[in-house]
Amino acid sequence: MPVLDFGDALNLALREEMRRDPRVYCIGEDIVLGVPFGVTKGLAEEFGPARVRNAPISEAAIVGSAMGAAITGLVPVVDMHFADFVTCAMDEVANQIAKSRYMFGGQISCPLTLRMPYGIGKSAGGHHSNSVEAWFVNIPGLKVCIPSTPADARGLLKTAIRDPDPVLIFEHRGLYRVTGEVPEAETLVPLGLADVKRRGIDVTVIATARMVGESLAAADRLAGEGISVEVVDPRSLVPLDREGLAASVRKTHRVVIAEEGPMRGSVGAWLAWVIMEACFDDLDAPIARVAGPNIPIPFSPPLEAFATPGAADVVDAIRRVVK
């Protein structure tokens, strides 16, 4: 199987979908050169400036125009540049894209994909580093996916583009240069299907994006102590594979939920309730959570490191629930 990095897998997905469907186009700031993460690099050469649209720094117009195009026959893929900037287009995302189909009684469909480069790292500071997926999970009308591997990134992005509804795909910028096997054949990853990244019997770690890799590292460390860790990646948060998560918990009876975003009001809090509701009688210990502190992401390296949950935190949480 060919090995690609996460960013190139996304690039491949865009290329494949743009070749397949002439209605698909990309729009965003600096996307012709693919700055800053290289995901859209080279697409303009193949598809031209009308389908790889370098937009002005106008987030509301980028997202709003994409919706206008989507409800009248095109299939836009919007690059948000940094997910933090979505606040400048929050009306378009939260009020327009999310609600249009519903408020119009199903008369229109909005097949729009919003690529959300996000996450902590490299001292980018408070306006370029936050994990904001929880904001959107709370908005009815949006589908939200969050891949952790190159293969999932390609498969989920392709599914998102083909989906008739608005889909946000959260791409952790710390994963862009992480490599992995990507099937040669065109593969779609369905929304609402969790993936077991590592099998184990003592504890289930439900982790998203960068925290999947951190949880796998934690599992490696604990294997030497005789603790067998199962790592499950929901891959999409809306819709959510409740049954897939519950099946793992019914096997292991212990749960750790690991995410990067702030602890309060988070996706992990929601997942904990989902597990509690589905598996209360199966749980042998309270659910433990690993998440970021409730602060904006600071700049200075030691401060940023403090705000970054990692494998060691997952190890600690697992020890707490299996003791």
């Binding site: 509301a60 026959g73 095109l74 327009q96 189909r101 009684g105 989906d163 509804d165």
Partner: protein, 315 residues
């Protein structure tokens, strides 16, 4: 245009009575007095042209040819409303006539329209996208972002500012710098025109040339139509912020009476013809009210439908 304006006027007058009688829930924002803008903007449009509207969008929907029955039933929150009762007055849409929605958030249409124009351009049709917004909305950022993008892309979009000089209860002079909204077009290198929004023919003529320009691939235009809102911002608004004289002055320039006088002068309309038009409009509006009254309310659990195409649950 005369029949359209009358249809809007009578539909809204009936809505007003029915709202006062408690038959219509929520809030309604009436456009009585502004009918010439709706009629003049929509008259040069084809059925498959697109219109994005404001929270005061009843007249725009009716002028675009939206179903009166669907409109009235939607105001009632009935299952037969054009949005199945999920939108209501402020979010009403009728995609079958290219009416892509009233909008509860001011200016939103200004950023959607360039994308509609882009889709027209990429699909290679000769359609046009029109977005109507108020004077208050012209002070929000998305107005500038949208006009800039449309001008940059040279897409077939007409931006229409329906200027009734009140942003809810805040006067134009206290909210709008520069005095003229049409003048803002110059900053983006597109044509800007100010017209008397109580004169349906003036609105029509400005619109006709903007639409022709858009269809010819020459890009967007901005029209500022200055008009008078006869009613309050919303029904029940006591309007302590403005003088009685302002509305009375507006009524003397009633766009319907004005167009009628013009048509009579040009020998295009006589009393008998006008009576026939009025009777036909009355019957249509009555039919819509009867339809709304006799339609069923949605089943409560229908609230969980229409969120997504694929997933019929609200999760």
């Amino acid at each position: 245009m005369y029949a359209t304006m009358l249809r809007i006027r009578r539909a809204e007058e009936r809505a007003r009575e029915l709202y006062a009688a408690g038959r219509i829930p929520g809030f309604i924002h009436l456009s009585i007095g502004q009918e010439a803008v709706a009629a003049g903007v929509c008259a040069p449009l084809q059925r498959d042209d697109y219109l994005l509207s404001t929270h005061r969008g009843h007249g725009h929907l009716i002028a675009k040819g939206g179903s009166l029955r669907g409109f009235m039933a939607e105001l009632y929150g009935k299952a037969t409303g054009c949005c199945k009762g999920k939108g209501g007055s402020m979010h009403i849409a009728d995609a079958s006539v290219g009416y892509l929605g009233a909008n509860g958030v001011l200016t939103s249409g200004c950023v959607l329209a360039p994308g509609v124009g882009q889709s027209i351009q990429m699909r290679g049709t000769d359609q046009v996208a029109v977005t109507i917004f108020g004077d208050g909305a012209a002070n929000r950022g998305p107005f500038h972002e949208g006009v800039n993008l449309a001008a940059l892309w040279k897409v077939p979009v007409v931006f229409v500012c329906e200027n009734n000089f009140w942003a809810s209860t805040t006067a134009h002079d206290l909210s709008t710098a520069g005095g003229s909204i049409a003048a803002r077009a110059a900053g983006y290198g597109i044509p800007g025109a100010t017209v008397d929004g109580n004169d349906a023919l003036a609105v029509y003529l400005a619109m006709e040339s903007a639409v022709a320009r858009a269809r010819a691939g020459e890009g967007p235009s901005l029209i500022e139509a200055r008009t008078v809102r006869f009613m309050g911002h919303f029904e029940g608004d006591p309007q302590g912020y403005r003088s009685r004289g302002e509305v009375e002055g507006g009524r003397q320039r009633d766009p319907i009476a004005r167009l009628r006088a013009h048509l009579e002068e040009a020998k295009l309309l006589d009393a008998a013809h006008a009576a026939r038009v009025a009777a036909a409009v009355e019957a249509e509006v009555q039919d819509a009210v009867d339809f709304a009254e006799s339609s069923p309310l949605p089943a409560p659990e229908d609230a969980l439908q229409d969120l997504f195409v694929h997933y019929p649950w609200s999760d």
